[in-house]
């Protein structure tokens, strides 16, 4: 018997919330760019309050990203921000810097701590280490393979979360790399944006057709994967392994796309849970996603089945 997992999706604004809940999300991940990182949109504290009210009215959880790599100057405002999130009724926060762990335990211990260090969250022993220091959940690196993820079962003392769909971050610098390049070219940016909305991407000579989105924000430069993870076909392996939360990353996608993806995963999860023993994946489960998938972004299994060397 497996517990029913949570279907988590990122939300870019208040307007998206009801649509994503209608589509079947059990939980929403939101946040503010100052303390969070690579968010689908930036929410003010008032908007977070409103989001929690809307979500809780429909038994949906709200998590807030506090995942930034914190600098001294952010520490001063961290306690008040954490208190405000606690007062707003936020259910949990994602962190990867120990300063956040300490602030949440001190100022709003009712919020659950989800440890998410992205590419450096790679084994159960480290997850349990953070568990013993207060974390309730670990968000695994997208670079792990299926055997590594399913092999966590039995070793893990806290909940687990795995990204099942969408793009991933592959490089993060504090530097302004696009702006620097434009200055170097002698064509500095005049007033325009280098942000997510600009649609900037990189191509590498030997990989034609692989478009790597790149953007800048207050946290530096972010480069994203050229493919979108889609584990739908093998979702049942994660369900069997008892993964507690399945995340749909909505960054750089329109709401209509994220809505369809959530609806699709909702149906597949529900189908599986209704009768795990007789579940089998059907090709048509994927039809709606295929219809709206950007043809220039391949749907892949990410690193779930990839051999990596070092």
């Amino acid at each position: 018997m497996v517990n029913k997992p949570e279907l988590l999706v990122t939300a870019g604004s208040l307007n998206e919330i009801s649509t994503l809940i209608d589509a079947g999300a059990d939980a929403l991940l939101i946040g503010n760019d100052r303390f969070g990182m690579r968010l689908a949109g930036s929410f003010s504290i008032e908007e977070i309050q409103e989001a929690v009210q809307q979500a809780h009215a429909r038994q949906v959880h709200v998590y807030v990203s506090l995942q930034n790599l914190m600098s001294n100057d952010l520490l001063d405002s961290l306690p008040d921000y954490v208190k405000a999130l606690g007062n707003a009724g936020v259910d949990g926060v994602e962190f990867n810097d120990p300063s956040v762990l300490m602030a949440v335990k001190t100022y709003a211990p009712q919020m659950k701590l989800h440890w998410n260090a992205e590419m450096t969250t790679t084994n159960y022993a480290t997850a349990n280490y953070w568990g013993r220091r207060g974390a309730k959940r670990v968000v695994f690196a997208r670079e792990l393979n299926m055997d590594e993820i399913t092999g966590m079962k039995g070793h893990l003392e806290i909940e687990s979360q795995v990204q099942v769909h969408g793009m991933t971050n592959i490089y993060h610098s504090k530097r302004s790399l696009v702006g620097s390049y434009m200055l170097h070219q002698g064509r500095p940016l005049d007033g325009g944006s280098l942000g997510k909305e600009r649609g900037l991407f990189l191509l590498e000579g030997e990989r034609p057709g692989e478009k790597y989105p790149i953007y800048e924000d207050i946290n530096g430069t972010h480069i994203m994967s050229s493919d979108d993870i889609c584990i739908l076909e093998d979702l049942h392996f994660l369900l069997e392994a008892g993964v507690n939360s399945l995340k749909v990353e909505g960054l750089l996608k329109p709401l209509s796309y994220n809505e369809t993806v959530v609806r699709t995963y909702r149906q597949v999860i529900d189908t599986y849970m209704a009768d795990p023993a007789n579940y089998s994946y059907q090709e048509q489960f994927m039809d709606n996603i295929r219809k709206i998938q950007d043809p220039e972004r391949e749907l892949t299994f990410g690193f779930f089945y990839k051999e990596q060397v070092y």
Binding site: G151, I170, G179, E307, Q308
Partner: protein
């Protein structure tokens, strides 16, 4: 007017009277040279759990020999166990750490708390230093790691002098910072370009430096023209470069803080770290030599310290990348990245190593490390700097036969030298 001798940044020094100079040692020979040329401590990699899977890396026997050598100089040996472990890596860690302790390793440099925990339980005698791979940049997190029992934190490369001073003010802990060498342009560890481009796991030592490759920058150009279909508009991205432009890259200039020794010392950095386990013997010896002299000179007389131009010149002889000051003063900008094609060669070659010197006939036995021949200008350097320049005269083999050139790697040859030299001195020649 500002008083010149007033420290710019003041943090609290925790333990060491004089900052430690910590050098990379990619193999046993480099270890010996790094220490002989002035490193107070070296960091090396073992066969497993380190982030330089392409470096030579040490067996336990080599580590033991390295530790014995270091002890004669009062120096310490640290081992980088700085991978982010996967499940399969966990099992062997305890035995490995016990072996490190057994051969006399003083500290491990570790990013993954799983390894920290095992080390603290199984070999409490070994110090655990938090790796820069944790990107620790604020005093609360430094305090957290101190409370976890770590005596030292290697800060993220993104911290400024001001931030280091604040950290030192809030927490009594040893702070180690990179002062010289190549830098990840990303937050360390927050880059999986290698995984995506080449299926090599960067956080387990497989980094293929994709950040230094060339890329083309585009933007999607959604057209407002009603005659262009939505599909067409989406398929016509617009290049953000001209044919004559250099390509986009993330590659950073190298860090060099040699000209900021007083500030590094005054801010309270306890250990000055030089990057480069993959760098050459010539590079390591030269860079260590320069920093050693600058630190000693400052400590001997802080008020009258002046940077000697020859220290900077020395480093330029062994290094090939342009340098900058990282994040110490300001966030790097367009002048801090390398857009032009990189010059691979260093201006000087490491031509030979002095094995013996005979004061009676003024001849030195040299182990050849690069081609040289009569007539070429060479210079000798050792701990303390470059001693003298001369031209190569006759080259003999060990039996006294005259050679037209020293062209075989590791060949032992004899030449006359103008001044006394010692074992461990190095001979370099300018590239033609």
């Amino acid at each position: 007017m500002e008083v010149m001798s007033q420290p710019k940044y003041t943090g609290k020094r925790y333990r060491l009277d004089k900052p430690e100079l910590l050098a990379p040692a990619g193999n046993l020979e480099k270890l010996k040279f790094a220490i002989h040329y002035g490193a107070d401590a070296v960091y090396i990699g073992g066969q497993v759990y380190g982030l330089r899977s392409n470096a030579d890396n040490f067996s336990f026997e080599e580590m033991r020999e390295g530790v014995e050598f270091a002890q004669k100089y009062g120096a310490k040996v640290f081992v980088a166990t700085n991978i982010y472990a996967h499940n399969e890596d966990l099992e062997g860690i305890e035995a490995y750490l016990r072996n490190l302790h057994e051969v006399g390793i003083a500290a491990i440099i570790t990013a993954d708390p799983a390894i920290i925990e095992i080390a603290q339980r199984a070999v409490p005698e070994i110090e655990v230093h938090l790796s820069t791979q944790q990107s620790t940049m604020n005093w609360q997190s430094v305090k957290f790691w101190k409370e976890e029992g770590l005596p030292r934190v290697v800060l993220g490369r993104e911290v400024s002098f001001q931030e280091i001073a604040e950290i030192k003010k809030h927490v009594d802990i040893e702070i180690e910072a990179f002062v010289h060498g190549a830098m990840c342009s990303s937050y360390s560890g927050r880059c999986v370009l290698s995984n995506h481009f080449t299926d090599r796991d960067s956080n387990r030592g497989g980094c293929c430096q994709s950040c230094r490759w060339s890329y083309d920058l585009f933007e999607e150009a959604p057209s407002n023209d009603v005659w262009v279909s939505e599909e067409e508009a989406q398929n016509t991205p617009h290049a953000l470069f001209q044919p004559e432009d250099n390509a986009f890259t993330m590659g950073s200039k190298d860090l060099c803080m040699l000209e900021s020794i007083p500030e590094l010392i005054e801010v309270g950095i306890d250990s000055f770290k030089i990057e480069g386990r993959m760098k050459s013997l010539h590079y390591v010896a030269t860079v260590v030599n320069a920093y050693r002299q600058a630190i000693d000179s400052y400590m001997a007389d802080p008020d009258n310290y002046v940077l000697k131009p020859e220290w900077v010149e020395e480093i330029n002889k062994a290094a090939n990348r342009p340098v900058n000051t990282g994040f110490f003063y300001d966030t790097p900008d367009h002048e801090d990245h390398i857009y032009e094609p990189e010059e691979k060669a260093t201006p000087y070659d490491f031509a030979g190593l002095v094995l013996e010197y005979n004061a009676e006939d003024g001849k030195a036995l040299i182990q050849q490390r690069n081609h040289f021949k009569p007539g070429q200008e060479i210079e000798f350097f050792g701990p303390g700097g470059t001693f003298f320049k001369q031209r190569v005269e006759t080259i003999w083999d060990e039996k006294g036969n005259v050679l037209d050139a020293a062209r075989h790697a590791m060949q032992r040859v004899v030449i006359k030298v103008d001044q006394p030299v010692r074992y461990f001195d190095m001979m370099r020649c300018k590239r033609k």
